[in-house]
């Protein structure tokens, strides 16, 4: 099969790329973690990139081990969690609701 052109570049993941991934994944990594993970992710990605050796252009992808079918149930109301049960494990509660941090930027 034709080699995937990005592989050569992908085999060297940079510290800046790790910082970007951490932002996307909502992980506030420390500086020393960035270095450590850059090194480790590079080793792992280089190893798993072997999957590109397999000639599979005409092979259908499998997302799931058994064929997925749509599963429905009768549209009958069933009891769910009570308000108190749902809020029991919340980190913060206010007025019988989940209290969450600011979701808008201050200037907005």
């Amino acid at each position: 099969m034709t080699p995937v052109p990005r592989l050569a570049r992908m085999s060297a993941i940079t510290r800046a790329e790790v910082a970007h991934l951490a932002r996307l994944a909502r992980l506030d990594l420390a500086e020393d973690e960035l270095d450590h993970y850059a090194e480790q992710l590079d080793v792992i990605l280089t190893s798993v990139a072997r999957v590109s050796e397999v000639a599979a252009d005409d092979i259908p992808p499998t997302s799931h081990p058994v064929p997925l079918v749509n599963v429905t149930r009768p549209d009958v109301a069933r009891p769910g969690l009570s308000r108190d049960e749902a809020l029991a494990a919340a980190p913060a509660v206010e007025d019988d609701r989940f209290r969450v941090p600011r979701i808008l930027e201050e200037q907005e």
Binding site: L27, Y37, V51, T62, V66
Partner: protein, 502 residues
């Protein structure tokens, strides 16, 4: 005066204990209490449990005793206690998944597996230690400290279900529940000299199982004998409308298969790719001896090739991180679990990032970032897309092999238990422990690990893996039961009886 059964109570099989309880020779309370006493006695050294629910377990035991006194019919495992992996939701009982981010969380509902255990009258002793969110092969990635292998306390009990396997091997429980995404039931079984089964995907409900990789996760039974494993498998398995991937067809009769324990006329395939380089000499030796026994018992053993298995590990470490990065996005510190940095000024994104940084350990962070990478635009086709195609090829390898053979076998893990600390910061070395178990998760079929001896070089347990087609879980028990019986004849006891006393 105590009977031999009472003196050796914790060393008995679940089947023996269930019969003794049903016949009134033992009460469920004394059986449960004996295991709780054992936990108090040894678990400071083994650390199999993250939480012990003595009150709840004894209440279930008392209900079984009361039911028996009233003449109610008892299930086949009624009163026999069990250790539950801390990744299954149990109402009102702490469920951490081995993570700081869920420290102190008490689920408001029961997993289906837990419901079925309760319905079967099985007292749940507590929650067992595990690699954080089931990511690991040694239980060292638990935020609450490692579990130790009862065969050698300086060694790992496997993972991620090391707590469940160690609890059984240390006679803290005769039964346990594990979950297996890439080998987390089978590899711990192999390195602790116990039995574990990953059922067919869809065979046991995932409702209430905290998701790691939804297309790979499967809960299953762990025990010290093949029959006990079958009894537990039957208790937890079967259709559940609350899991959209649950298989509606009737489960095969695994208990009858364990009782039949017969391989005469079976064709057993040796998977060529799951041996050789990387496999410890003593592991291969004990495996070969077990193959000879199977032939002697009347099975025909042939070699088969599954050429894409060598790519399974790479494909798995693209698919699993991709699914886990998505599944673990729910841990955002908003509705339950840890919240860090909420000072009234920080934004929701800041709080999420601070919470996840503080709440997740290193292996979780590695895999979440790997998955984020594999799913990002520009890399998706080359990584995740290609891995899904390899997954198809692995399924086809299995299909071709099962067209020739009834079951396939291999060593469960390439080595015996390694030392705590040896691989903890070397992810690739850790990942290689699952090289023989991962193909089954990728294809969704079923597999068992059972002990076949101690490796001569280190006197540590070796496991043999039996793999069967989807929904042919009964074949695992036919083979496992036959092999266990032959080894029992040869040794005069189960391998686990050689475990050092703690």
């Amino acid at each position: 005066m105590s009977t031999p059964l009472e003196r050796d109570l914790i060393r008995q099989s679940a089947a023996t204990l269930a019969t003794a309880i049903a016949e009134g020779e033992l009460s469920a309370r004394e059986v449960t209490q004996a295991h709780l006493d054992r936990i108090w006695e040894v678990d400071d050294r083994v650390h199999a449990f993250l939480h012990v629910d003595a009150e709840g377990a004894l209440a279930t035991a008392d209900a079984v005793d009361a039911g028996r006194a009233a003449g109610d019919p008892l299930g086949p495992l009624a009163g026999v206690p069990l250790a539950l992996k801390d990744i299954l939701a149990m109402k009102g009982v702490p469920t951490t998944c081995g993570s700081r981010i869920l420290e102190g969380w008490r689920p408001p509902y029961d997993a289906t597996v837990v419901e079925r255990l309760r319905a079967a009258g099985i007292p749940i002793l507590g929650k067992t230690n595990m690699d954080e969110f089931a990511m690991g092969s040694s239980t060292e990635h638990s935020a609450y400290g490692p579990t130790r292998n009862p065969w050698d306390l300086d060694r790992i009990p496997g993972g991620s279900g090391g707590g469940s396997a160690a609890a059984i091997a240390a006679f803290e429980a005769p039964l346990a529940i594990g979950t297996d995404t890439g080998g987390s039931i089978r590899q711990p079984a192999a390195v602790t000299g116990t039995v574990g089964v990953k059922p067919t995907y869809g065979g046991v409900s995932r409702y209430g199982l905290v998701a790691l990789a939804s297309s790979l996760d499967q809960a299953g039974p762990c025990a010290r004998t093949v029959m006990d494993t079958a009894l537990l498998h039957a208790a937890i398995g079967g259709y559940d409308p609350r899991d959209s991937t649950s298989i509606p067809d009737a489960m095969p009769d695994v208990v009858a298969a364990a009782a039949r324990a017969d391989v005469r006329g079976m064709r057993i395939g040796l998977v060529r790719e799951l041996s050789g380089e990387g496999y410890q000499a003593g592991v291969e030796q004990r495996f070969r001896e077990a193959v000879e026994i199977l032939e002697h018992l009347g099975a025909e053993v042939v070699e088969v090739s599954c050429p894409h298995f060598e790519y399974a590990l790479g494909a798995y470490y693209l698919i699993l991180p991709s699914e886990c990065s998505s599944n673990l996005a729910r841990f955002d510190g908003m509705r339950y679990g840890l919240r860090v940095g909420d000072d009234g000024n920080a934004s929701v994104e800041d709080v999420m990032s601070l919470t996840r940084e503080a709440g997740f350990g290193p292996e979780v962070k590695r895999r979440v970032m790997l998955g984020t990478y594999a799913l990002s635009s520009g890399y998706y086709d080359a990584y995740y897309g290609q891995a899904q195609k390899v997954r198809t090829l692995i399924q086809r390898d299995f299909d071709a092999a099962f067209a020739q053979c009834d079951v396939l076998i291999s060593p469960t893990a390439p080595t015996t238990a390694f030392r705590i600390g040896e691989k903890v910061d070397d992810p690739l070395a850790m990942y290689l422990n699952d090289v023989a178990t991962i193909p089954v998760n990728m294809a969704g079929n079923c597999a068992m690990s059972l002990p076949v001896g101690l490796a001569p070089e280190d006197s540590l347990p070796v496991g043999l893996q039996v793999m069967a087609p989807p929904m042919a879980d009964d074949r695992l028990y036919l083979v496992g039961g036959a092999l266990e019986g032959a080894l029992l004849d040869r040794w005069g006891h189960l391998l686990i009886e050689e475990v050092p006393s703690l």
